[in-house]
Structure formats: C-alpha cells, structure tokens
Amino acid sequence: MKNENSRRSFLKNIALASFATLALSGCDMKALEEFLQQNFRTLSKKEKNKIIKNLAIDYKKKYGKEFNVSDKPALEGTLFGYALDLARCVGCRRCVYACVKENNQSREPQVHWIDVLQMEKEKGIDFAHSTSQYNPEKVPSEGHFYLPVACQQCSNPQCTTVCPVKATWQEPDGIVVVDYNWCIGCRYCMAACPYGARHFNWGEPTIPVEEINTEMHYLGNRPRMKGVVEKCTFCIQRVREGKYPSCVEICPVGARKFGNLLDPESEIRYILENKRVLVLKQELNTQPKFYYFFGI
C-alpha cells in the first residue's frame, strides 16, 4: 500500500520545491514576468502597453537602435484581401527578399515567407511539377509561369484549429497571427497548413543590425525566438497603418494587389467582380483571402 504522507514523498517534494526555487532565483524579475505572461488575447490594454514598452527597451539593448513596437488592433470595417496576377508575375523573387527585410526574417538559418514556384505552362497549376529552385540568367523563362505562395489568410484556417495552446488565431481584419511568446513550437499548424506557409525557427534567428526594420508589430515582424512558428501577416505593421504590404510596393510588374474586401470601391473588389479569379486547393474549403487572377 502506498502511503501519501510517507517520509519518502515528503523528501521528494522538498527536493522538488528547493530545485524550483533555485531555478527561479536564477533568472531576474523580467524573465520571470515574461515566463508567466498570458496569451496576448487575454491581456488588458495596460498589460499590453507594459509588454510592448519593455520589448522596445529590450530590442534597443540588443540592437542599439530606437524601436517602435505597436499592438494596434484591427481597424473597424476592414477585411483584408490580396490578389496576384498570374499573367504578369515574372518570377523575379523581389517580393521574397523585400518581405525578409520588412518582416525581420532570420537570414541564417534562412526563413522565407514567400515561396515562388515555377510551373510549366503546359501542365498548368501543378504543384507536383513545380520548383522553387529555378535560377536562370533572366526571367521569365520560355514556357513557364510563376506562382508565388505565402500564407493564404484563410477564412476557415486549419492551422488555428489544431494549435493545442491557441497561440495562433484569426484577427477581426482576417489576418492570421501568431503570439510568439505563447507558441510552444509543436508545429501542428505547419502540418495542418496545406500551403506550406508556416515556417519554424529551427535555430536562433539572426538579423543583421543594419538591416533590421525598427517599425514593428507585436503580432507581426518583431524578432522571433528559436523554436517558434512564424508566417506572413500581410505586413500587419504596415497595413494597419493604411500602407500597402511591402511585396506590393516592390513588385516590378505590379502583379500584386491588396485592399479591403468590405470596400466596394477597392481594387480587390474590382478584381473579384471583373476578372477570372481562383484560389489554391479550393477543394479543401479553407476559403483563402488570397486570390490569383488572370489580368490579361
């Protein structure tokens, strides 16, 4: 028979408690506070303010620059949508690197949020026969077209439903975000995403200090830690300020279009109403808000 109040269990508990105290005393108050920080969605305005203020101080210490960390909520009456003209994309990958710079992705190990796939015109949209490794002298190459894939910002996202700790969710403006502090790195979301749009920080992310973007959003481009998942947020730090995402700004052929799906006057609504539009893997019922169209 097991005795719950045995001397043995008492000693065990004492050992455990002393070990825990020792471990906690090893870190300072700030680290402890961060460790005990709640899910972003349950934080009060006051708590959020304190956290983003502390983050700006931490980043300044680490990178020696002034940072502006925002926690701006979704604008009322907005639902973001994106459209990409397959007839015009030339596969130059300018968007990939503009995104890396804007969103402070790790350079080593390399993380890219946009994957540009080269496809054969004869085969149409066929992922099995596509490659992101193409590297000719000049693009577009004969007989090929290009299909850049990033997060499709699904209206019915599967990545958020599988998260065991609810560290990822869809914001009211339709952007699927990750609370990097709450993410446990289980990568279930990566398995659930049919577009390969989520990326894991396998190593400690490195960003050159001179290239770091100091305009940050808590749910977007603030530097990530090792062991968390990240993804495209439509440049949340830009679009909630009214700006276009940086991939839209850089595209040399103007193939990328962005706007508010709820505004009948927007470019995106014009495209949906007047062009031939498709979404990737429609049969999965993920209902992407990222549309591909033929602008010819």
């Binding site: 009322e76 009456g77 639902l79 030339v90 596969g91 130059c92 990958r93 300018r94 990939v96 690197y97 190990p109 390399q110 890219h112 994957d115 992101s132 490794q133 193409y134 590297n135 000719p136 002298e137 000049k138 693009v139 577009p140 209206s155 339709g174 396998w202 679009v239 009214g242 700006k243 276009y244 839209v248 700004e249 595209c251 040399p252 052929v253 103007g254 279009k257 962005f258 706007g259 508010n260 799906l261 709820l262 505004d263 009948p264 006057e265 927007s266 470019e267 014009y270 495209i271 007047n274 062009k275 209902q287 808000k289 602008g295």
Partner: protein, 193 residues
C-alpha cells in the same frame, strides 16, 4: 360544441399571427444581411474608407537632350512619308517593335507641332497625357489601369496612392516588358545545417 369551435379559431389566429411574425423576421434578415466572408455588408457600407486620393507620379524623364523636339525640328522641312530613319533617331529605329509593320513615328508624334503627341483623331496631346494615346488601342488596359488593376500603385490602400504611367514600365517604342535577373533561389531544405 360552440365553445370548442371558438377555441379552435382562437388557436388558429394565434398560429397565423406567429407565422406572419416569423415570415417578417425571416424577410428582414434576408434583406439586411448580405454576408461577405462572414462580415455583414451593411456594416461595411456605413464605415466607408476615407476619401481616396490618387496622384500621378512625374512622367519619366526624356532621353538626354531629346526634348523639346522643336530645338532641331524647327530647322527641318517636315517629311511625312514613312521611311527607315538612318541619320537621326536611328537608335529608336533599331529597337522599334510596336506593330512596326503598320506604324511609324507620325502615328503618335505630330508632324507640325513637334512637341506634342497626336491622337488618331488629330487632337494634340501633351507628353504628360501619353496614357490617352496608349488607350486608343489598348482600351481594356486603360480601363484596368484607371481602377488600379493594371500597373502599379504604391502608398496607402485606404488613402493617398501614387500610380505609374504606362511609359514608366513600357518603352513606347518597344513596349514588351524586358526580361530581368531573378534574385537567388532559397536554400534547399537538405542544405540547411
């Protein structure tokens, strides 16, 4: 017997009233809530984005020393016949690829008023409005460009935007978009250490 009949009628009227209320409420819902991606349209209409203002960026600069055209052309007698240019503008002749079989300089440039462009109708056009000239043939592109679908807009999705003119991206004498060098491909999964 009478009482029972009366009761039945009473029940019937209540049922009828309930039905009418139900039908009305259903009807209301149908007209009020046109849902788009799960968000009510009505709410969106009330909250219209602020007035969108669009600005053209400056037209791209002319090649050095080429404008105003009258600097040279004022001294030449106009020659309206279609021909291969050899002495001057031979650089343009060399690259010209814009329905070259059927068109040449004076289809877009005016013979008499050298510093202007010219529509098919004969109407003169400033170089800043060249998009109208392009739109004569590429009407569908012009339409898409006006609403921001063809071409590129930068700035604010809900406010001030800048747009590029046709000639920013397309050389009017050889409009096909030039091939460009791609950025390096991503590191292969198997090469990540």
């Amino acid at each position: 017997m009478e009482i029972r009949k009366f009761k039945n009628i009473h029940r019937l009227t209540i049922l009828l009233i309930l039905c009418v209320i139900l039908a009305l409420s259903c009807n209301n819902k149908a007209t009020d809530e046109i849902k788009f991606h799960g968000v009510s349209q009505k709410q969106a209409k009330n909250k219209k984005t602020e007035k969108v203002t669009e600005f053209a960026v400056d037209a791209p600069p002319f090649s050095y020393g080429i404008y105003p055209c009258t600097d040279c052309h004022a001294n030449f007698a106009p020659k309206p016949e279609k021909r291969e240019l050899v002495e001057w503008h031979d650089d343009i002749s060399a690259i010209f690829n814009h329905d070259s079989e059927n068109r040449w300089c004076l289809d877009c440039h005016d013979l008499k008023s050298r510093d202007s462009l010219r529509l098919a109708s004969g109407k003169l056009l400033d170089f800043k409005e060249s998009y109208k000239l392009c739109g004569q043939c590429h009407g569908e592109k012009l339409r898409d460009w006006k609403v921001g679908v063809h071409g590129k807009r930068t700035g604010f999705w809900n406010g001030k935007k800048e747009y590029l003119l046709c000639v920013h991206c397309h050389d009017p004498h050889a409009p096909k978009f030039k091939e460009i060098t791609p950025e390096p491909p991503p590191v292969r999964q198997e090469d990540i250490k």
